[in-house]
């Protein structure tokens, strides 16, 4: 534990100015990421998982979005940094991969061109050396015959190969932190398993730190060390993956896990579902945002629950208050 965390987020809030008023997409989010850790950031659409990570790499430029709080990367504050300074961090320090490689790559250049461009933007290397590195990276990412694929355009590749090419591009400047936003959601399940194995190898062999954003609890179960569950812009629960899946403390995590149809054992007559829908960020309920859908709702839920520290995990629920250490 002596090593300082690679990324430290404190009281991060993100507000959208909309016609209906201020919508708070992320609310007082705090967490830290250790070196070589794989964090699974889980939540349903609109829970604030993607936007908080976009803020971390300074990719929010909309003047109607207000980011406040603190994001420290290796001890340096990122919020308020100039675009120029951020450019030095994006790529060699923090890289991001996106759900849809087709929209993240430009269709008018070959994938090889796009990877070498990134290398040469950050390092003083010759075109020949950059190309050699790009071909090698494509090979490491499991792209068959990388020398030929280097000269192909994104639309000529299959979804899985495109995703591998994008991971190669993200890793081209050997970033310390990789943020993967739903990297497998657009892929078929047999290809998804291949990409997840690739991400696990990156950590094991290259010591990468990875934040994996997903809505699929199954995806994080096999790969993450730590799981963080977000609901309506706040952290609902976080803890070691094993613990969260075996003993979820927050009623939302419990509901999320029991909503998934089981792949083993007896089929259920009915699935347990969470009644209702997630709240609209422009009209958040008072107190705990999950209370209107929660089966255990009781008097204290009128106030916003803090994150209570349980022996194995943290849970933002008053039910945990009694058991908190």
């Amino acid at each position: 534990m002596a090593e300082a965390p690679i990324l430290e987020i404190r009281n991060l809030s993100i507000d959208f100015r909309t016609r209906q008023g201020i919508a708070r997409a992320v609310n007082q989010l705090s967490f830290s990421v250790n070196h070589r850790e794989i964090i699974g950031l889980v939540g349903e659409s609109g829970s604030g998982k993607t936007i908080s990570m976009l803020a971390s790499v300074g990719l929010i430029s909309d003047p109607n979005v207000v980011v406040s709080g603190s994001i420290r990367y290796k001890g340096n504050e990122l919020i308020g940094l100039s675009n120029r300074a951020l450019q030095k961090i994006r790529g060699p320090e923090i890289a991001m991969i996106f759900q849809d490689p087709m929209t993240a790559m430009t269709p008018v250049y070959t994938i090889g061109w796009q990877i070498t461009e990134q290398i040469r933007a950050h390092e003083k290397v010759s075109a020949r050396a950059a190309k050699a590195r790009a071909v090698e990276l494509l090979g490491t990412m499991g792209v068959p015959s990388p020398r030929e694929q280097f000269n192909r355009y994104p639309h000529q590749l299959s979804g899985g190969l495109r995703q591998r090419a994008m991971i190669a591009m993200a890793l081209s400047c050997s970033p310390s932190l990789l943020i993967a936003d739903e990297p497998t959601t657009a892929l078929d399940v047999t290809v998804q398993a291949q990409i997840l194995t690739l991400l696990r190898d990156l950590r094991d062999n290259f010591g990468s730190t990875i934040i994996l954003i997903t809505h699929d609890m199954g995806v994080v179960a096999g790969i993450a060390d730590t799981v963080m569950v977000m609901y309506a812009g706040r952290l609902a629960e976080r803890g070691p993956t094993q613990e969260i899946f075996a003993h979820p403390a927050h009623p939302y995590t419990q509901g999320l896990l029991s909503s998934i149809p089981p792949m083993e054992g007896k089929r259920l007559r009915r699935l347990t579902s969470i009644p209702g829908t997630p709240p609209n960020p422009a009209a958040m309920p008072e107190g705990c945002a999950f209370a209107p859908r929660c089966p255990y709702r009781f008097a204290p839920c009128g106030k916003v629950p803090p994150l209570f520290a349980l022996p194995a995990q943290d849970s933002a629920c008053f039910l945990a208050a009694g058991k908190a250490a």
């Binding site: 078929d188 399940v189 047999t190 398993a193 199954g218 899946f245 999320l256 083993e264």
Partner: protein, 324 residues
């Protein structure tokens, strides 16, 4: 349960693609020689990866697309040969629910109008749906049946969440009291917590109304939950079909096994990548068994001649020379 409501006999659907200025026309075999039966009151799950032809097959089953070859028999009537007029008389009995609840509802029309449209297009024989009061009473029954409220009928689609829109899509499909509902990825655009609600709703409605479902999905866990029998498709062909519990417990086709092993499970070890590579293009399918280039059990004959579906531990059928 014992009589088929719907039967596909050697159905193929080919598309002709390309043929632009610089490319010659090529034939894409989306569905290739597929035969299957859907029993009255059951749910047939149709699973496979993207591009395997499951949606095309689903659309052919209700003749939203004409087949290139083969026959589709709905309640003893061959719908592939029917005139459009005769088909129109059958239409109320087979309905479809679509994947994208945002794209399948006209944003400029109220929910009530959207659900009432099938009633207007297909007036019931007794003429009862000409009376607006009766139509309204019917709409109220339909909207409450899918778990929404009568006051929602006056609202527009944008006022609803994805899960609620899918409920509206289901209400519209049920407006004409169909026998068969083909649901194409009805829950894959929904968040997990909402997905469970819609699956429960579909199962309840089936029990109440005696519906027959063809449920198309890529999510195996969802199919395991809802389907009585499951058919697994790969590159336009059915590789295995049988009772859901048996197919999931002891898959016979290597592709089914690979698919099941690749699903991330929350209880046990990480998902395993059992097969390498990706699904080949249906424009240029491999020779013999279409799965052989990725199959860990492939033998010489798999490359030469495509295996046909045959009974394997009946009532299961599998198309593989070396089943597990």
């Amino acid at each position: 349960m014992s009589t088929p409501l719907l039967e596909a006999v050697a159905v193929s659907k080919h598309f002709s693609v390309g043929g632009g200025l610089f490319s010659r026309r090529r034939v894409l075999q989306a569905v290739n020689n597929v035969s299957l039966r859907v029993m009255r009151g059951e749910t047939l799950g149709l699973v496979g990866e993207s591009g395997c032809g499951k949606s095309t097959l689903g659309r052919c089953l209700v003749r939203l697309q004409t087949v290139s070859d083969g026959n589709i028999i709905f309640d003893n009537v061959d719908i592939t040969k029917l005139s459009l007029g005769a088909l129109r008389k059958l239409r109320p009995r087979m309905q479809m629910v679509f994947q994208d609840p945002y794209a399948s509802l006209n944003p400029r029309r109220r929910i009530g109008d959207l659900i009432a449209e099938p009633l207007r297009v297909h007036p019931l024989a007794d003429g009862s749906m000409r009376d607006p009061r009766l139509v309204n009473a019917q709409l109220e029954i339909l909207i409450t049946m899918v778990g929404l409220k009568p006051e929602h009928l006056a609202r527009y689609p944008h006022e609803f969440s994805g899960g609620q829109r899918q409920r509206i899509g289901i209400a519209r499909a049920l407006a004409l009291d169909p026998d068969l509902v083909v649901a194409d990825e009805p829950v894959s655009a929904l968040d997990v917590s909402v997905q469970a609600q819609v699956i429960n709703l579909m199962m309840d409605l089936q029990e109440r109304l005696g519906l027959t479902y063809v449920f198309i999905a890529h999510d195996l866990a969802v199919v395991r939950q809802i389907a009585t029998r499951t058919a697994v498709m790969y590159l336009g062909e059915i590789v295995e079909v049988g009772p859901t519990e048996e197919v999931f417990r002891a898959p016979a086709h290597p592709y089914t096994a690979a698919l099941l092993a690749a699903v991330p499970k929350i209880s046990t070890a990480p998902a395993r990548a059992v097969v390498a590579g990706e699904v080949p293009s249906p424009l240029d399918p491999p020779s013999g068994c279409r799965f052989h280039p990725r199959c860990p059990r492939a033998q010489a004959r798999c490359r030469e001649k495509a295996p046909q579906l045959y009974p394997f531990a009946a009532p299961r059928q599998v198309a593989c020379y070396v089943p597990l």
